[in-house]
């Protein structure tokens, strides 16, 4: 239960980090909060030759409003976002989802962008990113690009990130007038990974839900408004459309039932805070 040996750089600037990621190519890995990576190192499920620590880069530690978007840098820890005074006003969905991520002790170190890069299919932040249709700002030594949430997650712990590439920041659209948000999760215990988690975004004219913990990545669907009698059928179709599987935590059937019930409850709760 000890990591294999690796080279380590505590980068002082983003350029320094990008240089080494470029030079080492596929052998290098970013370390941010370490709350997912270090367990994998300890169990030797990951054996990177080089680790690039980005947590001492001051420029990455910012939470900033840019137009209607909130930009969250790669150095922002989950606890820092939780303590951001504007969180409930600007990102109500994220405010609801954050307390479900692990424990106080892991949120003190884990980052927002690290959770997105890790892309666990049941994780709350990837779910929030998909529900809100945010964007990832990716960067290599040579180029920058912005990738939409729907194009970022490719499967179980697989993302669009290429060799030498890192997430510099994520941007999430700020709460808009006349929009309600809902979030619910079922797990074995609070702080465990979700068996199923649901996020809903509802306006006067449209509703959508995003679901984590069922398919190999979080997925989003447009659904009828809660007042529409077709909602239950739509949720049932979604439940079957997701590739639910049995595992030690729950059966596929139970997960489909959660999609139907938790889905409706979450949409109704989102609609209720529309006023």
């Amino acid at each position: 239960m000890k990591p294999a040996a690796f080279d380590y750089l505590q980068a002082a600037t983003l350029d320094e980090a990008l240089d080494l990621l470029h030079e080492a190519g596929g052998d290098a890995r970013v370390i941010a909060g370490g709350q997912s990576l270090v367990p994998m190192l300890n169990m030797r499920l990951a054996r990177p030759a080089v680790l690039v620590d980005i947590m001492r880069i001051d420029d990455l530690r910012k939470i900033e409003a840019e137009g209607n978007d909130i930009m969250i840098g790669a150095g922002v820890r989950q606890a820092q976002l939780e303590a951001w005074p504007d969180l409930s006003a600007r990102l109500p969905l994220v405010a609801m989802a954050l307390p479900w991520i692990g424990h106080v002790q892991t949120r003190a170190r884990g980052t927002v962008c690290g959770s997105l890069a890790h892309a666990d299919p049941s994780a709350e932040l990837p779910l929030s990113l998909i529900a809100l249709q945010g964007n990832l700002h990716l960067r290599t030594k040579r180029k920058r690009r912005t990738v939409a949430a729907d194009d970022f997650f490719l499967g179980m712990m697989a993302t669009e990130l290429g060799e030498g590439e890192m997430i510099e920041a994520v941007s999430l659209p700020s709460r808009s007038e006349g929009t309600g948000y809902g979030f619910n999760e079922i797990g074995r215990r609070h702080g465990d990974f979700a068996i199923t988690a649901v996020a809903a975004v509802v306006t006067e004219r449209s509703a959508s839900i995003a679901i984590a913990g069922v398919d190999d990545r979080p997925r989003r669907f447009d659904v009828p408004l809660p007042s529409d009698p077709g909602l239950d059928d739509a949720l049932n179709e979604i439940a079957w459309d997701l590739n639910a599987r049995d595992d030690i935590h729950a059966s596929a059937r139970y997960r489909r039932e959660l999609v139907r019930r938790l889905g409706r409850r979450t949409i109704e709760e989102a609609a209720a805070c529309l006023v």
Partner: protein, 170 residues
């Protein structure tokens, strides 16, 4: 900082329980092992080494964190507290420790140092905390002996004592 090569050692310096400490670590040395084996402070326990059990919980710059999920080199320049910091003097217990003793908040004691460090951080940050918050902080810890009820009672009783003390001092 320049790149630290695999197997190469670097001197790591930080504050531990108020005093400066320094010792050598490889890049892969876990902070939990560094504190126990290099510094020689064995109050911090190690259970699972993958972040789940909470036995290794310490405070890093005031916030509770898993020592087994940090590299020693990441602790450079930080301010760290471990369970050894809690007692106010030889043969004396802090309010929290005394409450654990009174309420049988421990049996084998393996989980205790980590739990104390989480609860100490909670008490420091939120002296008005109630049962829900105590339980939320404990969710990051596994205890195989007590069934948790006595730990919750101990924490609530310590919070009471500390609030009363604060009132007396007004």
């Amino acid at each position: 900082m320049s790149r630290l090569k695999a197997h190469q050692k670097k001197t790591v310096t930080f504050r531990l329980n108020g005093l400066p400490v320094r010792a050598d670590a490889e890049s892969r040395t876990l902070l939990s092992d560094f504190i126990r084996h290099e510094i020689g402070m064995t109050g911090t326990h190690v259970g699972c080494e993958h972040g789940v059990c909470g036995a290794c919980t310490i405070q890093v710059d005031g916030a509770p964190a898993r020592a087994c999920l940090m590299l020693a080199v990441q602790a450079e320049g930080t301010d760290i507290r471990t369970v050894e910091a809690l007692s106010p003097g030889d043969d004396r217990l802090s309010a929290l420790q005394a409450a654990f003793k009174r309420h049988h908040g421990l049996q084998c004691g393996f989980c205790t140092p980590g739990i104390l460090m989480s609860l100490d951080a909670l008490i420091g940050a939120r002296p008005d905390a109630g049962r829900e918050e105590v339980r939320d902080h404990l969710s990051g810890h596994l205890c195989r002996c007590t069934g948790y009820a006595t730990i919750v009672e101990a924490a609530l009783s310590a919070l009471d004592d500390i609030r009363r003390e604060d009132n007396d001092n007004v």
